[in-house]
Chain length 426, copies 2
Amino acid sequence: MTGQPRTQLSRRGLLGGGAAVAGVAGAFAVGRTTAHADEGATVATGGRSTTYAFRGAHQAGIVTPAQDRLHFAAFDVLTDSRDELVDLLQRWTLAAEQMTAGEPAGTGAIDGDVRLPPDDTGEALDLPASGLTLTFGFGPSLFRDAEGRDRFGLADRQPEALRDLPHFPGDILDPARSGGDLCIQACADDPQVAVHAVRNLARLGFGTVSVRWSQLGFGRTSTTSTSQSTPRNLFGFKDGTANVKAEETAALDEHVWVGDDDPRAGWLVGGSYLVARRINMTIEVWDRQPLGDQEAFVGRTKGTGAPLSGGEEMSEPDFDMPGSNDQPVIATDAHVRVVHPDVHGGARMLRRGYNFVDGSNALGGLDAGLFFIAYVRDPGTHFVPVQLAMSKSDALVEYLEFTGSALFAVPPGVGPGEHVGQSLFA
Amino acid sequence: MTGQPRTQLSRRGLLGGGAAVAGVAGAFAVGRTTAHADEGATVATGGRSTTYAFRGAHQAGIVTPAQDRLHFAAFDVLTDSRDELVDLLQRWTLAAEQMTAGEPAGTGAIDGDVRLPPDDTGEALDLPASGLTLTFGFGPSLFRDAEGRDRFGLADRQPEALRDLPHFPGDILDPARSGGDLCIQACADDPQVAVHAVRNLARLGFGTVSVRWSQLGFGRTSTTSTSQSTPRNLFGFKDGTANVKAEETAALDEHVWVGDDDPRAGWLVGGSYLVARRINMTIEVWDRQPLGDQEAFVGRTKGTGAPLSGGEEMSEPDFDMPGSNDQPVIATDAHVRVVHPDVHGGARMLRRGYNFVDGSNALGGLDAGLFFIAYVRDPGTHFVPVQLAMSKSDALVEYLEFTGSALFAVPPGVGPGEHVGQSLFA
């Protein structure tokens, strides 16, 4: 995570002529990827011109400092051909590396052959890289279809932990917002850059994949680096205070990166599992709760985010501190207590969620909430027990509706000359 | 539009104590609004800390330099009581002035009485004003219901021009995304600030109004000031090049601000009409069109935005320049020609639209397009003929679906001691 500036190629600079574009494509194929392959998340900072290297030991977009905006898309694979699927992953790799560098997708840019559709759709031409990261994942249904059939000769490599999540009490999942064979998480500090990336990758997949569902998020709800301040969710509370952060390398190995304990999943070592949950908040009901109740439900103050047992935002909560009426200060059903690692064998998640508003609902309120994303080493130990505990005894759950759900295996980073997920198909 | 800095009150600074909050509320009631009432769109610039004065001769959010993000909401009025409606407008005025200044809504802030719900929902507490503007409008149905009944004693003040827009060829309008008694346009450079504002105004209206529909936009598609660069729409083309801009004061009087020609609408002088149209783009089909065809449909180059007749982005198109096959270089069905003021009696609009993506559609593509907003002096002369011409002969229409539509009268600015729309109810 060393911050090592490099020259920023702006898309605007490429508008001048096709020769410059061809030059970039050539550099991609030979020079640049090799030069940066060992540097992990090489960063050129400077506001919107921030760029993150696409290749490295881990995929970018996990421990990368959480960008402000999200476009997440899940895809169904339409083809039965493994070769066609691998070909798409190769083309996605090329385009992802170009776009995360702030370049247009493809080689025929906007002033190319007028007889052909432009390779790039154009809406980000004047915009810098904006910290774009693209993170790819594989869903359980890619390995076996609903009837259990091996779709692409991958069934014997399906990790034990990559199974559909169980039904949780309170789930009212919309199938049209759940599941998916593939996923792409696009994060950027400019939403137009994130949208552009998903659109161009979907376009490259035309005929091979189709978008199953997609979700925009407008505000990050987590910090993935100690350099970031803690944002607020739509309950108005700081969220992600106790998140696993990029600087905690030992915790990342323990809680986020997949190890070598599953012989079927050697290809996933150094990757992670991505849990996505679309969580609607009944915000109009929440907003009518007294401040004291809101804080009791969360277990923290609304202003500073400090635990109700005292201190500052980053202080550890004291769950034993006695309050009034023989109850602890932090209630037994307070969110911060129910999900705390101490009651889950020390399990922590790297959360990377976003606030969303998708218009209005039938009740004259906002269709709004949290698009929860978490990266974990094993969903069976690091997510399912926590979600079950929430469903059972978390005071917040009364104000939540779980409307979408998906699980993906996120392969490790893309090495020099490799394509996304190459270790799975090798 | 003079840029006159003033002290920026951050919401964060208000967290310290209730006394400070009460002080701000006092200043609102007595001092600050008066001090700034004559200054129009007083601006304190500086990135996210930009603030625009809420009070002035015109409402902010029209000629204000178009901010990056939008949350637009239309409301149904639930009450039959004119007094209750006016009371809401008074409370909206108070909260709007607070939030556009970067302050929380209401007086009991986050560290207020724990026995009461907080006045402010909290998710923007750590965020600066972010250039927030809030612009209010009144729909035709506020004056008369579907049966023609006078709802609030306002029927004799309904402007002639404030009628439901006609059905246009190609309209496939969703009633749940159309119309509305009231509207609020929230624009800001941080989407969380825009969402927070709409949410808190909706909350203040609980029981009196309900959200009929709402729309987020992630990327501006227009420039309303010569200081801004031209952004791109989801066709990948620069949009809004020939927009009416804040610096064109004579053009604003001619095309945007309502004059005194309608005796029923004296209350609207200095206001405007807001036309909202949700325009889905069939972007997957568009993306398969050759570059030359895309440019022919628009009448401009995709790279620089110059007219196909030559020059630079800001050059006037030459519609008479001959091309090949006895056709003009700019085709007869090119968008730039069909909507050009020269063929509409010189009528121009002040456009203020935003790109949107609302997840995916049933075809495995993106539910995406342009949320078109235009401010005009008279929709009958400045919008309807242009839309009819587009429906009839614009090559772009093949790639558009009009899925939502609404018209609102936007009253003039709010003077000292006044509430939003006071001239209508006086």
